[in-house]
């Protein structure tokens, strides 16, 4: 078997006359945790659905787990765990019944055992008879995740799996993903959380259906080349207004009690921040390294300008 688990080229999807995904290429090696980022409506869900064979692209080709995405979607489905963005288990079935139903559909052996194990891992053994619809939002997400892993897939396609999940559960979840990854399970995960993005080996960033970035996570800051300054102290209102009006400042964002001002041109940025310090002497300015949060806010605001 090949070592590239997802290899798609030129995937294009149109809804009506809107091109929602445009010439999308992606190569994901075995065992990788691949982050899939992009603003709302950029086409992440649509792309994931094409990758697991739920949606036929207008054009493009590729292989997933060595099977043709266009012709062998049944074989792909057997080996992929897809967690939908919206909760898609049965609210009127109990937790256990949902897991049993899914394991029947995959034709699994040792069904009861697997379901017991999944329930124990989730910590839901005592509540297994409860209706899934009665679970809280975060617990629904965790159940859905357990359901898409019950058949031990080789590839996980997770569409915002941790939306609405508490920080502790999110950590547990990412620990689990890393464990799977070590066993050779590949993961493509879409997320809006930057603390999750940094845990990915690589990140593909998509905006308005076009892939803008696709790099190992560590290389992205260098690639974007965004410089930053932190402005602290109070009051900061006027400082923020000044920065927003300055040329050379591409991004002004509030981070707790600080303002982060970022820009591509370090000299212009330094001039702008210097001007603020001169006008408001009580603030402290320090150069910082632009983090993922800044980078993606910057990208998303830039994408807006480019595609409007």
């Amino acid at each position: 078997m090949t070592d590239t688990v997802i290899d798609v080229r030129g995937l294009t999807k149109r809804f009506g006359d809107r091109t929602v995904v445009d010439q999308f290429d992606l190569k994901v090696p075995r065992g990788a945790i691949y982050g899939f980022l992009g603003p709302n409506g950029s086409g992440k869900t649509t792309t994931i659905r094409m990758v697991c064979g739920l949606l036929k692209p207008e054009s493009g080709e590729g292989e997933v787990l060595g099977f043709d995405v266009l012709k062998e979607s049944l074989k792909i489905k057997e080996r992929v765990g897809y967690m939908t963005q919206k909760f898609s288990l049965y609210e009127d079935l109990s937790i256990r019944e949902n897991l049993e139903f899914i394991s029947r559909l995959y034709g699994l052996d040792r069904r009861a055992e697997r379901v017991d194990q999944a329930l124990a891992d989730l910590g839901l053994s005592e509540r297994q008879a409860q209706l899934a619809g009665k679970l809280s939002g975060g617990w629904k997400q965790r159940l859905a995740l357990a359901a898409c892993m019950i058949h031990e897939p080789e590839l996980l396609l997770l569409d915002e799996p941790t939306a609405g999940v508490d920080p502790k559960a999110r950590r547990d979840f990412w620990d689990a993903i890393r464990r799977y990854s070590a066993q050779g399970v590949t993961t493509l995960v879409s997320t809006h959380y930057m603390d999750e993005a940094v845990q990915c080996d690589s990140i593909a960033y998509i905006a308005y259906g076009k892939k803008l970035i696709d790099s190992p996570t560590a290389e992205i800051p260098k690639q974007i080349g965004l410089y930053g300054w932190s402005i602290a102290g109070r009051p900061l209102m006027r400082a923020q207004e000044m920065l927003e009006a300055s040329p050379g400042v591409d991004l002004v964002a509030r981070f707790g009690a600080e303002i982060h001002a970022c820009g591509k041109d370090p000299a212009a940025l330094e001039r702008a921040v210097g001007a603020v310090k001169a006008a408001e002497p009580h603030v402290d300015i320090t150069p910082i390294e632009a983090g993922f949060e800044e980078i993606f806010i910057y990208l998303m605001s830039g994408a807006m300008d480019n595609f409007q």
């Binding site: 057997e78 919206k86 909760f87 898609s88 049965y90 899914i102 029947r104």
Partner: protein, 351 residues
């Protein structure tokens, strides 16, 4: 390729295990959805009982007006029997046709029984004179029952008179003829007609609606997305999801049959096997119609509304309400396309 597929299910790549998984899931969901389940069982009972009150298969004391043009021993004997019978109450006897017509038009009388002039003379001569019964058949079932009763009364009334010198008149056919004009409802729907037909209506209603809703629910709630991501095939979903409703249909059929036979004493005279085949085909046809709707409807509400697109013509154009042959051709064409039309033809011959 040297190995031939062993079975049809291999040929079309069908896994009965997955069909069974979907079937089980659907059963559990059906059991949880108490209100819908109650409707499925209660609807046939309620409809039948409601119709049962409307259908009085043994009508009594129907007001009748007798228009009598002549007065003789035979007609008097007929009148006497009529008065004795509990089926009709003779409220007036008149020699004038207009009076009788007026009473039936005003609703005072349900029947107008007219004995023409020269009835006795022609009877004795063996000319088979006519007794005209005009019935207000706007309450068709009741009228139908009474008409049959009047025929009985006539037979009883004249029988003793045909002894002795008139005995040559006794053998069949009856030496007189009763001509019945059903007014306002030429089809003359009767209880025997309506209860079996009700089976068709009940099955159309529940089978089409419940399947379309059960399937659309998957799309509406987003569970279809998850289902599609598993290896389950569309055909397996289709079989697994519709099979439980075949059983629901069977239960409904059993209820209707039991009520029809026990409560309304409607005899089952046709071939039971033919009936079973027809019912099975009919249930399947309705399930498939429901399935068809679910492919178009996005929400359960839409599915419900679309069901009525099938339900209304099923009631109006199938021959359930109006005689099929009396409808305009276009309506007959639509009617022919509805499963219930064909089901009604079969089921009415079975009872």
């Amino acid at each position: 390729m040297t190995t031939a597929p062993h079975s049809l299910s291999k040929l079309i790549d069908l896994s009965w295990a997955r069909v069974f998984a979907v079937f089980l899931k659907e059963l559990v969901q059906m059991r949880r959805d108490r209100p819908t389940f109650a409707i499925m069982i209660m609807m046939p009972v309620m409809q039948l009982v409601l119709f049962g009150y409307a259908i009085n298969t043994d009508p009594r004391h129907m007001p009748a007006v007798v228009e009598m043009r002549e007065d003789g021993p035979l007609t008097r004997s007929f009148l006497a029997s009529l008065a004795q019978s509990t089926y009709v109450d003779v409220i007036a006897i008149t020699p004038r046709a207009e009076d009788g017509e007026a009473m039936i038009r005003s609703g005072q009388a349900t029947f107008l029984i007219s004995i023409p002039e020269g009835f006795e003379r022609r009877l004795v001569r063996g000319e088979r004179p006519q007794i005209l019964i005009a019935a207000d058949a706007s309450d068709p079932v009741a009228a139908g029952g009474a008409i049959a009763a009047i025929q009985q009364v006539a037979a009883q009334a004249f029988a003793p008179e045909f002894q002795g010198s008139l005995s040559f008149l006794a053998p069949l056919p009856a030496p007189y003829e009763i001509v019945v004009h059903r007014r306002y409802n030429p089809a003359g729907v009767t209880a025997f007609n309506i209860v079996p037909a009700l089976l068709g209506v009940i099955l159309t209603m529940t089978m089409v609606m419940i399947t379309s809703i059960a399937l659309t629910r998957e799309t509406e709630r987003g569970t279809m997305e998850n289902l599609l991501a598993t290896p389950v095939r569309p055909l397996e979903v289709m079989i697994g999801k519709t099979t439980p409703y075949v059983f629901v249909g069977a239960v409904q059929v059993a209820i209707v049959l039991a009520v029809a036979m026990l409560l309304f004493r409607i005899p089952f005279t046709g071939s039971f096997l033919a009936f079973l085949i027809a019912v099975t085909l009919f249930i399947l046809a309705n399930l498939m119609l429901g399935y068809l709707i679910s492919t178009v409807a996005r929400t359960q509400m839409q599915a419900m509304q679309m069901t009525f697109f099938i339900f209304l013509p099923s009631i109006l154009l199938s021959g359930f309400m109006f005689p099929f042959r009396a409808m305009p051709l276009w309506a007959q064409v639509i009617g022919e396309a509805l499963p219930i039309t064909h089901f009604l033809r079969i089921v009415r011959r079975s009872f």
